[in-house]
Amino acid sequence: MELLKNFLTADFFYTIIRVSTPLIFASLSSLVARKGGVTNITIDSTMIMAALTGVLVSAFTKNLGLALICGMLVGVVMGIFMGYFHIMMNTNMILTGVAINTFTNGAAIMILYAFTGDKGSSSMIKSLSVPNANIPIVEHIPFVGQVVSGHNLFTYVAFVLVVVCWFLMYRTPLGLHIRAVGENASAAKSVGENPTRVKLIALGLSGLFASLGGMYMSMGNMQVFIVNMTAGRGFIGVAADAMGRGNPIGAMFSALLFGTANAVANVLQINAFSTDVVMAIPYVASIMGIIIYSVLEQHKKDSRMRREIMEAKQSASIN
């Protein structure tokens, strides 16, 4: 009972939204890539590199805008770089992912070390961050205001991006082309589209979304870059996207679900429940999510077949 009290607070729901933010970015990143026919397993790396870039550029130029732009640019470049090797150089996705993840792990530490002389975090230098924002009027509503208002600007961007992503995918020519290429590249080719070009654009966008998630980690949620600070969130994003069945809104809800698992873990942790077991909860939830998604897909296929058998039996009995 004592424990339950910790969950039913505005604080707890605030935390859910806070910890879900990077997952939403990551799931959208995965979504764009997967719609284009590529399972992107470099999202985590892209987040790390963008997080680092943002921190370093802001620390040395004291220009927040420039830092954000550089971070996003790094994301786009990484997405296209991955696409170049995977699609144009015909490298297996997993090998590409392994290489880029390893590269990032090394490069991030080297760059951090070169600029700060520290291999663990950027706490030696003073970097800028994106501020939190209160929503006028809403902030004064009891409870709701405490939950919804006062988040980092990145968080609001994430939710706006869900909607933008939906419109992009379902209402613009580019989105239509990405979906067509991802599902049936030869169909797109037969009407004069260049599938490689579309896939590279999709991966560039994927990198862009991932970079926002990364920068939220180091310039929003925290004001410092820490090595391994993403802790596999990019991969949880892939899981959230899978469970969201390719729909941005679904991806968002899955991300919130995994975020809830995370928030639960946080609360339990404070209450001196075994920290480690609790920390595993989000990952277990992600695995469950992927399994549930696959089972549902299988079920959909089976029921379609069953329907056809029923119809066939009926028509046979009529004849």
Partner: protein, 519 residues
């Protein structure tokens, strides 16, 4: 006389592997006609049409469009000329709506967004114009096959096609859907459009087409007005082979029933039944052949028997043992059944593995080849070399990878593996596809030897002369069903079989029932 819409003159196409697909073919179509292109598998129909649609390069000859010479290098150029093609595999994106598929890469725009209202309107407009009703908002994946085809046709029309190539459009359709398609084609003819109709089915040609071009072995057998040519004449021009291979064999002495297939259905969930209520038996000491134009369910039938395909209804027993639901391995072991698949490279061998690994992979558990899980390399090599000699596989050594071999020798590796163990039932799909005469003869001789040793053999082949020579009795498949059972091949001509294959004739149910022997 009007200028033909398309005229192809002296077209020759030789593929890089040396196969002559078309030789000096003339072809022409007018506006406002439905023109059939007929021929057996590999007669060169598809290649000819692919050249017209810019998917293949013309080696020799020229294409005239409305009297002017044109070079069509890719599909976009063909579309620009007003030529559209509906492939057998639909070029549609399943999760998109009908309107989205129609407009793909030519979307009406409103600012940054797709103008969805206009997309819907345009779709409706074109579907009204040609009287081909369709729900523009429906998702393509939810549509039945016939409607998907309609979307393809509308898509081509939307892009301005006046000449429409349909590659075996009825192969995937139910009879009702076929009727509906024909109604649509009539409408197109009324709009003075041209339809080029690739098909195997003579009845359909008779029903809807104006003229027909018949191809055989890459050569044109002439252009005929459909009303002036009889069904059996078409059949004679299409089928009929000059080269005969004579096979020496004794008359069969069939004994006990080995394979019994009853009321088998397969293909739910794939849009159309591939195997539709098929029953027959194969007895020991006989070769039962399955003839038919490819794609009439033969492959699905064989794959169902060996457990590679799930069946939904029906029974299959091998020596009174029901094998439905058994794993492939169980069917192989308990049913003592061997299977030589059609697609050698994808299914028959592991191309990157060595000859010996391929020949003996299924026998590793035998004590002579492994003890306690450890492979006895010496025995394995000996056995492999023995098989290489016995089956006359041309290779340097047994540890060569299979990719290094020719098609005929790869087939021999498969045959060696499948036929070297004592078996009750042997199932062979396309025994001589793509292999040389020597290897073909060799494999046929092996099959007959095994028959004489009282093995039950089921062979399917699209090569009519081969199947007629090899088989003791024959079933002919058409549209997933058995069209005829020929108990004794002595009294029957190729022409007659051709008529069953092409769906002109069908035996009575009682005659077909004779394919099942009670015992």
């Amino acid at each position: 006389m009007q200028t033909p819409a398309i005229k192809m003159k002296g077209i020759t196409k030789i593929y890089s592997n040396g196969v002559v697909a078309n030789k000096d073919v003339d072809f022409s179509v007018n506006y406002g006609e439905i023109h059939a292109v007929m021929g057996e598998n590999g007669a060169g129909k598809s290649t000819l049409m692919k050249m017209l649609f810019g998917l293949e390069k013309v080696d020799k000859g020229e294409i005239l469009f409305e009297g002017k010479t044109v070079h069509i290098n890719n599909p976009s150029e063909a579309i620009a000329l007003g030529i559209g093609m509906v492939h057998q595999e639909f070029m549609l994106v399943p999760s998109l709506t009908v309107a989205e598929n129609m407009m793909l890469c030519a979307e009406p725009r409103k600012g940054l967004f797709i103008d969805r209202t206009r997309a819907l309107e345009e779709t409706r407009k074109i579907s009204d114009l040609y009287n081909l009703p369709i729900d523009p908002r429906a998702r393509v994946e939810d549509l039945p096959v016939g409607m998907k085809q309609r979307v393809e046709i509308l898509k081509a029309l939307y892009r301005g096609a006046k000449i429409l190539i349909l590659d075996e459009p009825t192969a995937v359709l139910t009879p009702q859907e076929t009727e509906e398609l024909f109604r649509q084609l009539e409408i197109l003819r009324q709009h003075d459009h041209t339809v080029i109709f690739i098909t195997h089915k003579i009845r359909e040609v008779k029903q809807i087409c104006d003229r027909i071009t018949i191809l055989k072995n890459g050569l044109s057998m002439g252009v005929y007005s459909v009303k002036d040519i009889s069904e059996s004449d078409i059949s004679k021009l299409m089928v009929g082979h000059e080269v005969k291979m004579h096979i020496d064999k004794k008359p069969a002495a069939p004994k006990t029933t080995v394979l019994r297939v009853e009321h088998l259905y397969n293909g739910y969930g794939e849009g159309k039944l591939k195997v539709d209520d098929v029953s027959f038996t194969v007895r020991s000491g006989e070769i039962l052949g399955i003839a038919g134009v490819e794609g009439n369910g033969q492959r699905e039938l064989l794959e169902s028997i060996v457990g590679m395909r799930k069946i939904q209804r029906g029974s299959i027993t091998i020596k009174d043992l029901s094998v439905v639901g058994m794993s492939i391995q169980e069917i192989r072991d308990k049913g003592k059944c061997a299977y030589i698949p059609q697609d050698r490279l994808k299914v028959g061998v592991a191309a990157e593995a060595t000859i010996k690994e391929n020949m003996l992979a299924n026998r590793l558990s035998e004590p002579q080849f492994s003890k306690g899980g450890v492979i006895n390399e010496k025995h394995l090599n000996e056995k492999a070399n023995e098989l290489i000699r016995e089956f006359a596989v041309k290779c340097d050594e047994s540890s060569q990878t299979v990719t290094m071999l020719s098609g005929g020798n790869i087939q021999k590796v498969v045959v060696a593996r499948e036929l070297s163990m004592p078996r009750d039932l042997i199932i062979i799909d396309q025994p001589s596809r793509g292999i040389d005469v020597g290897a073909t003869k060799f494999i046929q001789k092996k099959i007959i030897e095994l028959r004489d040793a009282d093995t039950a053999i089921l062979v399917s082949s699209a090569d009519l002369s081969e199947i007629m020579e090899l088989s003791d009795s024959l079933i002919i498949m058409y549209d997933g069903q058995i069209a005829a059972y020929i108990k004794n091949l002595a009294g029957i001509t190729e022409e007659e079989i051709g008529e069953y294959m092409l769906g002109i004739k069908k035996q009575t149910p009682d005659e077909i029932k004779e394919a099942v022997y009670e015992q």
